[in-house]
Amino acid sequence: MKSPPPTGVTPMMDPEHLGFLIDRHSAALVLFARQWCAAPEDVVQEAFIKLVRQNPQPRQPVAWLYTTVRNGAISQGRSERRRQTYENRAAERAPAWFAPPDDAGTLDAEAAALALAELPIEQREVIVAHLWGDLTFEQIAAMSGGSAATIWRRYTAGLNAMREKLRAPCPNAPTK
């Protein structure tokens, strides 16, 4: 039986759990933070350190991490004060968003990154948080504001736009 922590001592996150979160979500969090700022690693690292210092620990640490990373990335993106539009910056960095796929039958990583970078930020954050962060639409709605239905509409609209750009075949489309 696990003994409770002594009085006055902050209950710390288990280092093994923290290591698991880093291994499992750091890459996706970096991709998520990259949507707003040019130095996403710093934002993600700061978010993990903030997570450790939370007392009490959040019930949903992954959703908490995405919310913290989103706020930090937006703040850092504002402080960068670049003259270029964000879409141009995202397009320039897009090829580095995904690792080269091992399977040749999958989507082209560079093309997918470019298509994703051309989407509005509202659709991009929903797609990244849902596909690579495994956040539910309710969690994304709580993070970015709005309802789950609105988030879902943004998600489907973004995916349709990407599919059109990538010209991926619709599986339900009638074949001629």
Binding site: S26, V30, Q45, V52, R53, L159, R163
Partner: protein, 186 residues
């Protein structure tokens, strides 16, 4: 109902594409796992309000500097030098009106009783006249000198004649009155 069916159709349409996208792996990050764990552990061990003392010190230092600046550069009024000068102030106070001292009634001499002699009455009369008319009114002393000369001559004569002193007596030299009216010899 039709709206919900449209949404269901859209979900079904994008699901295969979403699964294909999910196969893409985000690019590796430059985050060092070990270093992040170390930083997280150090942050967890750090006191939660470690910033309190530095911020408090900074705050009070700023207040002290502000007060020192205020004390040094405060605009003070010109220092007033007080010089004491003694000045005599004449205050004219009207003299209290006093009743004049009653002048001695020199013209009237009162005698108590009827035993005053004639010489005393005359003496007082002479004094009254002297106060009224001045010292020039006093009788000359010449008759007295004449009487003394006569007395001396009588003494000499008695010595020449070898008779006892006092044998030859000079008559009383009565002074001649300047103002006979004073004596009532009108």
């Amino acid at each position: 109902m039709s709206e919900r069916s449209d949404e269901m159709n859209q979900a079904a349409e994008v699901a295969p594409f979403a699964d294909a996208l999910r196969t893409l792996v985000p690019a590796g990050t430059a985050i060092s796992r070990d270093r992040l764990l170390f930083e997280a552990g150090r942050a967890a061990a750090a006191p939660r309000f470690g910033w309190l003392w530095p911020c408090g010190t900074l705050l009070f230092a700023a207040i002290s500097l502000a007060l020192a600046g205020w004390a040094v550069f405060e605009e003070r009024p010109a220092q007033t030098v007080v010089v004491e000068r003694e000045r005599v102030v004449e205050v004219r106070v009207p003299a209290p009106v006093e009743a004049p001292a009653p002048s001695p009634n020199l013209t009237e001499v009162k005698f108590e009783g009827a035993q005053a002699s004639r010489e005393t009455v005359q003496m007082y009369q002479v004094r009254r006249d002297m106060f009224r008319w001045g010292v020039a009114l006093l009788p000359p002393t010449k008759p007295m000198e004449k009487a003394r000369a006569v007395r001396d001559a009588t003494g000499d004569l008695e010595r020449w004649l070898e008779v006892p002193a006092g044998t030859l007596t000079a008559p009383y030299a009565k002074p001649s009155p300047l103002f006979p009216m004073m004596n009532g010899d009108d």
